[in-house]
């Protein structure tokens, strides 16, 4: 599909860049364009006789088109938060809303539909189907999406136009992760959740993946949440939320985002 047509299709759905820019200027509590919000979210795991408080009353609002980095050490609760926001887990108390839907009371089927229609996931270990080519891995998702982008175009956008017919075992880690990102974006999600997307990649490959994420966020206006323990990545975010021991300990707004190629760690 020609680029121009692709761009037209995207502009129909996504808000303007101008509006995205205003949203980064407003405060957390009053953000009018928040599409995903958590209020007093707590999560308690029971490990044998020990209660583990993974999240302690976290509240946050995430706006459309935002690029958010959740920063924290391992065990800080950032993954638990991501799982709850992605509809994979339910909090022990508190409420999570996606637009006007309450996720915390949704059934398993409703949560599946939420993930299917609105959320894109990128995993640390890519989790591609080894039996499908790059193109088919993306098509697997576009097959069940309501209004998807053409799979080959999305793969082209992540720089894999010449790798469409390769199987995961024939791709490098970075390429596999880009296939995974293409798979997540192809259904045109409102939210893209990335769990340590560079965690298993080397430095140059990691940077290429971050560039792809950044460009997708910019071009498609998808709310992008990246969790990482790598503080260097934080500079490319609109907002950095630091989590420690299950609580938000710091929120930082960036008026201008650093370009991924300028990051170093």
């Amino acid at each position: 599909m020609p680029r121009a047509r692709l761009a037209r299709r995207m502009s129909r759905k996504q808000p303007s860049i101008a509006r995205l820019n205003t949203s980064t200027q407003t405060t957390l509590a009053t953000r009018p364009s928040a599409i995903l919000a958590g209020r007093n979210v707590s999560k308690v795991y029971r490990l044998g006789d020990v209660e583990v408080h993974a999240l302690r009353g976290v509240s946050l609002e995430l706006g459309a088109g935002e690029f958010v980095v959740l920063l924290g050490a391992s065990g800080s609760g950032k993954s638990t938060l991501l799982n709850i926001l992605g509809g994979l887990d339910v909090p022990t108390s508190g409420e999570v809303r996606y637009r006007d839907h309450v996720l915390t009371t949704a059934t398993d089927r409703e949560l599946t539909r939420y993930r299917r229609e609105h959320v894109g996931f990128v995993f640390q270990f890519f989790n591609l189907l080894p039996s499908l080519t790059a193109l088919e891995n993306v098509e697997l998702v576009t097959e069940i999406a309501a209004n998807p982008l053409p799979a080959a175009d999305v793969l082209g956008r992540v720089g894999l136009a010449d790798r469409l017919r390769h199987f995961p075992a024939q791709l490098s880690g970075g390429e596999q992760q880009r296939v995974a990102i293409a798979r997540a974006l192809a259904k045109r999600p409102d939210i893209l959740l990335c769990d340590e997307p560079t965690g298993s990649l080397d430095y140059p490959t990691g940077k290429v993946v971050l560039e792809v994420l950044e460009r997708a966020n910019r071009d498609l206006g998808t709310l992008t949440v990246v969790i990482t323990h790598n503080a260097a990545i934080a500079a490319m975010a609109d907002r950095v939320i630091r989590i420690s021991s299950g609580e938000i300990v710091d929120v930082q707004h960036h008026a201008t985002r650093a370009r991924p190629e300028d990051l170093s760690w």
Binding site: T112, Y114, R116, E117, F121, P130, S131, L132, V141
Partner: protein, 788 residues
Amino acid sequence: MVSALHRALLRDLWHLRGQVAAAALVTACGIAAFVTMLSAYRSLERARDDYYADYRFADAFAQLQRAPMSLGAALARIPGVTEIDRRIVEDVSLDVPGLAEPATGRLISLPADPSSGLNRLFLREGRWPRPGRADEAVASEAFARADGLAPGSRIGAILNGRWEELRIVGLALSPEYVYEVAPGMLFPDNRRFGVLWMDRDALAGAFGLKGAFNDLALRTAAASSLEPIIGAVDRLLEPFGGLRAYGRADQTSNRFLDDELSEIGVHATYVPAIFLGVSAFLIYMLLARLVATERGQIALLKAFGYTNARIGLHFAEFALAVVTLGSIGGIALGAYFGAGLVGIYRDYFHFPVLRFELSATVVGAAALIALGSALVAASTTVRRAVRLPPAEAMRPEPPKRYRTGRWEAVHALRRIGPSARVVLRNIARRPWRATLSVIGIAAAVATLVVGRYAFDAVDELVVAHFQSVEREDAIVNLRRVGGAAAVGSLARLPGVLRAEPFRSVPVELRFAHRHKRSVLLGIPGSGTLHRLIDAQRRPIGMPPAGIVLTRKLAEMLGARPGSRVQIEQLDGKRLRFTEPIVGVSDEPLGVAGYMDAHTLSQVLHDEGAVSGALLQIDAAHRMALFRALERTPRIAGVTIRAAALQTIREVMDRSFLLMTVVMTAFASVLVVGVVYNSARIALSERGNELASLRVLGFQRGEVARLLLGEQALLTVVAIPVGLGIGSVLCRLLVPVFDRELFRLPYVLSARTYALATLVTLAAAAVSGLLVARRIDRLDLIAVLKTRE
């Protein structure tokens, strides 16, 4: 003290309990089949051998017209003969209270001391007839029970043309009638055929055989060969109307017993082989997966200094544990089914005692076979575990490599979606595993088909024989050869629509060096009630000259149309003549030769002689006819077609239900074993992949389709394969059932194919559902953090 490795083994077994149970169940079925059939075989064989020895079952038999008792001295002098029994045996028509149709009774003389002589009776109840009492008889137990007779009951019998009332004084069993079947019948009809033993003098008086005998039984020294003895007996009996003597192998009851034993023998080999083969495959899959998931542990153990042998043993023990579980279950199940099968045999084979015995030999053999299948299953995977170098084993398994299959070039397949591709590529990646799965499921389908074959074939045989060949409603046998007038009087009986005379001559047929005792039937060329048929069951006319043989008889003689067979009449004038074979008749029941009645009587110089008549009956007047026949002298026996058919149906239905239930259960276990285990292994191998898809928003059903699509496709492929294998196996069984008494045609009904298909689909669906439930338990959170 349980070692750490043993504790690990127990934990693995528990962790994989579903799959272990499925594999153990398949093993159990194989062992159960083996134990059931072999122990039933041995129980039956043992009961037969004991009975024959203790009750002095004769080694050879001969029927004759009439010979003086004094001939006994010469018979006893034949080298190798140790004991002779000169008897009187006559078939008569019986009037049994409560039975509409006339029954046939075989009257056999008892020696002066009934507990002496050959073919001794086991007196179950009552007493022996008093010497000289012509109205007392001991009845065979099966006949008495079927007709509700007991000591004290009375029945009517036509003894040499006179109606007499007989009083039953005892119930007995004879080694000669373990399988108590009327001549020419396949299944016993105990209501309408029975043996009665009576005082010798009384019978001799009634049948004009004072100082004479018409039936001979003899025992031979263990080492002596039967052939010369039979030759000598025939020479001595020839002047007295002796029909050819024969050994145990041709004695009806003994032949059925032998056939049954050889049949179980056949089933006892291939049925367990199918199941144990599949169970070895399942254990192999389980172990291969176990070795794959425990790579790290294996490496660690090796790093700790565990020897290769110890690690190999660990996995071999896993296989051993599975078959041990299966064997214990299988032996118990086999003992249960074996006792059940022996119970069924008690209905057919009448022994004083038929006890189910589970011998240590059978149990030991079962255990050895199971052990063998475990070792076969374990050998490759254990080698793989042993060969794994510790350093490599520490790393995760390399990513699974897939490639585009050649099938994807097929135009029609290009448009299939990614989900279908996942299914197809997974099959293509492990072609052997897929092939073995297909074979396993196909084996179940084939088991179902083979299990029903005998029923379909008997169904077809009955239709073929009684609609195309023996089309009469009743056969009336005269006691002595009579004239046309006898048939004329039968035709005038109430309810008789048509009466066709037939001539039946005992003969010996010879061709080249082969010879065969049989019967030559003269039937009128214009007759319609008994027809000859070709292979397509189309009637063929009776040629005016020459002889037609049933195909089986021609095969036994090694003769074919055009061959000239020598025929020796064994009764009457004992004429010898030669006739060309002018045709073969493809009838499935019995063997005989046929000639045009008129031609035959010319050859035998007994114009107009008849042995009996075939009757077509008006059903509305059958009762009146039966009453008339019961009181008609000169009649040796009446066979009612409808009653015979009903007996076959009843026997079939009874064993059919049990067989179908057992076969269905066994085949379901096979299907569940293969499908459930394959799907569980796929779930274990691809759990991560499937959980990722759940995270990406695939509903449970969609994920289940991806997981189970492979098994569904393999099942669908396996069904026609199984139907094909089953059909081929049945074809291979056709020679097993190609006997002198009956020949089962190769035929399988649509119902059999449908049942096999439905049972397989149902069992596969249930297995799929069991595994699909586990998709709910996929850990969607862990998958975000786990490496393949």
